[in-house]
């Protein structure tokens, strides 16, 4: 009992990571609203950030700067990597939102099923391209 409690405690960040991962993926699959999908994508990506960041931190560790009195350092590399990944995530989200704006202009809706229905209604593939 105590050992399993210790496992849960020791793996706490992993549980949070996996929960966010699954929650994000679930939103992506279950929601048809294009904005909500992007929210799910953001949560999913954030779980990956946590996967990198949490193990880099040592309890009692400091930033790796040589100074008297400090001997335990946290690993700075994951922070640098995730800084890059956050930038990538922001760019992805910005582009995704921009696309949603354009989709709304072209279709007048941001629900996946309505968009598909709208495309199905315009029918044949031999139609001249609609003007936007």
């Amino acid at each position: 009992m105590t050992s399993s409690a210790a496992t849960v405690g020791g793996h706490f960040t992993y549980f949070v990571t996996v929960f966010l991962m699954i929650a994000g993926l679930y939103i992506l699959i279950a929601r048809g609203n294009l904005i909500k999908k992007l929210v799910g994508l953001g949560i999913f990506q954030t779980s990956a950030y946590l996967l990198y960041l949490a193990p880099g931190k040592l309890v009692g560790g400091t930033a790796p700067i040589l100074a008297a009195g400090f001997t335990v350092y946290s690993n700075p590399l994951p922070h640098v990597l995730i800084l890059t990944a956050i930038v990538v995530g922001v760019a992805t989200l910005a582009l995704g939102l921009a696309l949603v704006v354009r989709i709304r202009e072209a279709y007048d809706c941001i629900e996946e099923d309505e968009i598909l229905a709208s495309d199905a209604a315009t029918g044949g593939r031999d139609e001249p391209p609609p003007t936007r």
């Binding site: 996967l51 990597l81 990538v88 992805t92 995704g96 072209a106 968009i115 031999d126």
Partner: protein
């Protein structure tokens, strides 16, 4: 150091820096000039690197002189150089083509941005290939992907926007899966350098996080390379993107993803880990076969040529992955050579279809009736490429399938030979759909009088068609390079 010593860095830096330059210049002619120079410089660098590697062995370039594994390393071995030449070569051909092609398909005020995105996509693809650092692969993957989403959204149909959005969602899931896998590997090994990671993984062989990392990397990259059934984004993206973009993506993007998978399987995890601990072989074999049959069958039912050939791409990815799943030198040779040959074949098809779209006003089978009379040379070119997709001897597509059959026979798997031939028959059926519409139907009146295809579009397409035939007749260059690269991958590490 001389210029030649810095080639690995220049390979990526030149297109990467040319991209913002095109934004600053704004004038589309200037932007086109810059993009053309940058893409040809990238091709020159790729060819020079290839010659360097073939004569002198693996090239390692420490970025900023920080020695690996602490610094980021660019590492060029035979396989890298081979893929670099494919990507840069296709880019150098598609770029001059795109000038006239986007004239008809993209609003003029967006032309300079097209070149920006094209260069970023090129830089990303080259970066994925050349880098020896796992996290760098992710960053370049996202650079190329983000540029790709924009390029697809430039399509004139509003469905291009939805295709781009779907690809963005799927692509980002794939990239995040990949980065989760890399994160687990980093936790277990404490390094991000691919070669170093490969060495250190031997100590933690078969542990659960490593196997989980293998699964995450496999699924993430399989999304990117459109392995059946993760291919849903591909047909829409290729169909609605501008013609030049379809050609560039079909020839390079999925191929670079295959390269990443091969790199992780054989250089990082090592094939004993990949195929020994998990039923990777069975899964990949099954998905490859399913892709070959299902995607080919769906291709037969299509009414639009771009979509038809997009599904054909999914099927051809099946052959490429099938070779990989054998875990033998001849299987890997088949993968590498088919990766190249399918790249040039599909590039040629989509370049030709761009010309068709320009003249006939679309690429649906109903619209291109009588194409054989309207555009005899273009039709002939598409038929040649179709023969290559089927795998008729004398075309590039045959070489890859030949090695694939050899690899299957080597393992005594006769039924696989039968499957490969049977799925090729499905390819005959979908190529026949084109032949029937182009040669056995009367031309429609409303498609008469389209503008002639400009030379800048004819020459690149013709060059790729000629390459498709040339590499089918004389396969010593491609198959030789592929065989040496495969031997390196399987011999060099564990």
């Amino acid at each position: 150091m001389s210029l030649a010593a810095h080639l690995p860095a220049l390979q990526v830096v030149v297109p990467l820096l040319a991209a913002p330059l095109t934004v600053l210049l704004r004038r589309r002619d200037l932007a086109f000039g810059v993009a053309l120079v940058a893409s040809w410089a990238a091709l020159a660098a790729a060819v020079a690197l290839w010659l360097q590697v073939e004569s002198g062995g693996t090239v390692s370039y420490p970025i900023g002189n920080w020695p690996p594994p602490w610094g980021i390393e660019y590492r060029v071995d035979r396989l890298t150089a081979f893929v670099l030449v494919l990507v840069a070569g296709v880019a150098a051909l598609v770029l001059p083509y795109s000038r006239a092609s986007i004239e008809a398909e993209v609003p003029p005020q967006q032309h300079y941005l097209f070149y920006t995105m094209f260069l970023l996509c090129l830089a990303g693809l080259l970066g994925i290939t050349i880098t020896g650092d796992a996290f760098n692969v992710f960053v370049f993957l996202e650079i190329s992907s983000l540029a790709t989403y924009v390029l697809i959204a430039l399509g004139r149909d509003r469905r291009a926007l939805v295709a781009s959005y779907q690809y963005l969602i799927m692509g980002t899931i794939g990239a995040t899966f990949f980065v989760i896998g890399v994160g687990l590997l980093y936790l277990m090994t404490g390094t991000l350098n691919l070669a170093d990671m490969g060495r250190r993984l031997a100590d933690v062989h078969g542990t659960r996080p490593v196997l989980a990392a293998l699964a995450f990397v496999t699924v993430g990259i399989s999304l990117k390379l459109a392995l059946f059934p993760l291919h849903q984004w591909l047909p829409d993206a290729y169909t609605h993107a501008p013609s030049a973009v379809s050609a560039f993506l079909a020839a390079t993007a999925t191929k670079v993803a295959v390269y990443v998978l091969v790199r992780f399987y054989f250089s990082v995890f090592g094939h004993s880990q990949v195929f020994g601990r998990l039923p990777t072989q069975e899964v990949m074999l099954l998905l490859a076969l399913a892709g070959m049959f299902v995607a080919s069958a769906i291709a037969i039912l299509q009414t639009d040529l771009k979509r038809l050939f997009a599904y054909s791409s999914v099927a051809q990815i099946g052959y490429i992955v099938l070779g990989l799943s054998f875990d033998t030198t001849s299987g890997l040779t088949a993968t590498i050579v088919h990766l190249f040959n399918h790249g040039i074949t599909k590039g040629a098809v989509f370049l030709l279809l761009g010309g068709v779209a320009l003249v006939m006003g679309g690429t649906s089978l109903a619209r291109i009736q009588g194409l054989g009379r309207r555009m005899p040379l273009t039709s002939f070119g598409i038929v040649l490429c179709g023969l290559s997709l089927i795998g008729v001897p004398g075309t590039a597509g045959f070489v890859g399938k030949w090695y694939l059959i050899l690899a299957a026979l080597e393992q005594g798997q006769w039924w696989l030979v039968f499957m490969i031939v049977a799925s090729s028959l499905l390819a005959v059926a979908y190529v026949w759909r084109f032949v029937e519409a182009a040669y056995f139907r009367e031309p429609r009146q409303d498609t008469a009088g389209g503008p002639p295809v400009p030379w800048s579009m004819v020459v690149p397409a013709a060059l790729l068609v000629v390459a498709t035939v040339y590499f089918g007749i004389d396969s010593s260059l491609t198959a030789g390079a592929a065989a040496r690269a495969a031997a390196d991958l399987l011999g060099g590490l564990r």
